[in-house]
Subunit: 430 residues, 2 copies
Amino acid sequence: MVSTALLTDRYELTMLQAALADGTGERACTFEVFGRRLPEGRRYGVVAGTARVLDAVRDFTFDPDLLTSLRGVLDERTLDWLAAYRFTGSIEGYAEGELWFPGSPILTVTGTFAQAVVLETVVLSILNHDCAIAAAASRMAQAAGDRPLIEMGSRRTHEQAAVAASRAAYLAGFTSTSNLQAGASYAIPTSGTSAHAFTLLHDTEAEAFRAQVAALGAGTTLLVDTYDITAGIATAVEVAGPALGAVRIDSGDLAVLAVQAREQLDSLGATGTRIVVSGDLDEYALAALRAAPVDGYGVGTSLVTGSGAPTAGLVYKLVEVEGRPVAKRSTSKVTQGGRKTAVRRHRPTGTATDEVLGTGFTPPREPGDRPLQVPLVVDGERAGDLPDLPASREHLRRALVTLPWDGLALSKGEPAIPTTVLASEREVAR
Amino acid sequence: MVSTALLTDRYELTMLQAALADGTGERACTFEVFGRRLPEGRRYGVVAGTARVLDAVRDFTFDPDLLTSLRGVLDERTLDWLAAYRFTGSIEGYAEGELWFPGSPILTVTGTFAQAVVLETVVLSILNHDCAIAAAASRMAQAAGDRPLIEMGSRRTHEQAAVAASRAAYLAGFTSTSNLQAGASYAIPTSGTSAHAFTLLHDTEAEAFRAQVAALGAGTTLLVDTYDITAGIATAVEVAGPALGAVRIDSGDLAVLAVQAREQLDSLGATGTRIVVSGDLDEYALAALRAAPVDGYGVGTSLVTGSGAPTAGLVYKLVEVEGRPVAKRSTSKVTQGGRKTAVRRHRPTGTATDEVLGTGFTPPREPGDRPLQVPLVVDGERAGDLPDLPASREHLRRALVTLPWDGLALSKGEPAIPTTVLASEREVAR
């Protein structure tokens, strides 16, 4: 186990020291993770990273070496307290793969202030990253429809973020990843084609293709745009025969090139050879390729950078102290104090209409309401096994079906459903 | 040691398998890392991550467990080859803290194809992340001038990316980081204030301030915008006395609030109390605060997301095979084949004028030329100790001084100096 305890902002621990000294550290507190708003123009968020958060909380422990590195920052009392630290509070939250909207309490951490405050940074790091990638990936998966999506962005992001990004992309509907660590850690299918370097290494394109087919079989994907695409496709079929699995085109006007490639492949009898395209694709480019004869996509940079929204903008806010709601001065209703209980309201047809948040109470149940929070940790112990990654993937797929039709539009707009915050049981949603 | 070997795209290893099978894997190759262009409108790039790259290359080894995870993907011959893998080629590159421009060969990897191709993904992951953050950080440091900059973005990015981002920010001129792991791993000064949660935890703001001052001394920084800023500052000085270290304001129109806070602090006799501001600051917001009475900044989200350019866009390209230049069909001069040797040309005044790249040869030396590449690994062994982080920080500071004056402008523009690619020794730069 590698401790996650230093993946923390210094002020968490100095606040801890001050709170231990004056006794307030033992006050019962509730912290909530939520987004005040969705990234600009996005219509929904996707919860991802819950499983990683729970592992990080489990591994949030301070061994002697680690405490030594904090000597000089913290006093002895605080160091002793940290030496014994193990999270013994409770956590509930939205399931991985659930949708979120402004104010949705996607994670609720209860415990003493001291117990809960130290987790802020690592919890937010994980959720802000994974939710950002999953949201972008979900839009791409919608744009790609039934066509397979290969995640291949590892080289464009931090090497460990790449592994988490692969996981989030798979959760949100990608088919496979190029990242071997993600394959090993999360049992995500891995795939890959080849690089221009492999063709350039050989004296001719034909020799490169022969080597690849000899090693990986005719079902492989040959990269045909190193020199001339038409010549490349002719050589590919000549070398591999009409049973060639696929060709990949990584540059140029992909919509035009795909049509030409399809005609050429068909004329060569390679009617079953698929066409995979890549090269600076994002959800808009994928949507623009809907009518093109493309059989699969490789997506890299835009996925791992959240396609313009590299962080989900989630915050970890203290909302209750000893049962009393607390909040910073603010004009926003979704940031008001008090522990939120969330349900998603639906029409009889199953279409979602509202994210309803009760502040300090559970909203009166109506037909079609679906409670959104599930227990994750109870008194320091896991509440049970989490759904596995395929189950979370299915959860998201089903949740997306409930959105009003314009909730899946790629264009900038309002959240797909409004958030209704009920301040007391007497208020009625909408 | 944690192996970095699976932080790799599957196709690197399937290309390896094909190249081992047909013998081309043993061909002597040169790969170069460069950016075809700078992120949109940026005038310079910053090299960061070199030290992390060399550690990743050292740790790129396959133990039996790891090979087991690749069974089914690769054949026995390839698995045996990987079991013995240790990079025995050579690496040279730009020093950490050096500037880069389109085409600059910031890292050059030589070795057999098999030896060098497998490093592509992890090398690019590290450099694309760290260079992106350092470039954004450098612009922020320019905008902040002499005022201290605290890096506090950990919560808005992947938990491990956060540690690397702290390092890159410090390299580029930030003063300290909130991230404790970065402090422990890289000896970066850590700092921090407190969160709104700490005030909300207490029954009154005064009690929170008293607790913080009791624990951390009057030199601490009190967060004064939880409720009302004017009341918060009055309470802060009342509790801590005029020796109060600093107040932090995290919201609102910071330019206006800083003036009011300064007047109020001075009127209370707290003339030495500093004003630290934070809250969605980026390089433009920092520049806009130049005239405000601000003594320090906390920067988070925009730093860790590269302020609009979350990846540096660097590629790892095969440029020579057995001494022969190779390149994909392209219209760009900076992507032509052949190993590049780089010098930066300067006027007698010391102002940089050109990034000069010789393709396959060293550009004829002129007065004021500075060679840019240094040996990093020779035949698998480190070429020597790398400069430490403070030295790299100083390297960048000096390099920035050489830029033409408009090279430091924050507005969008062309690269600060042009890249001149010499295709033969007979060509002369400009």
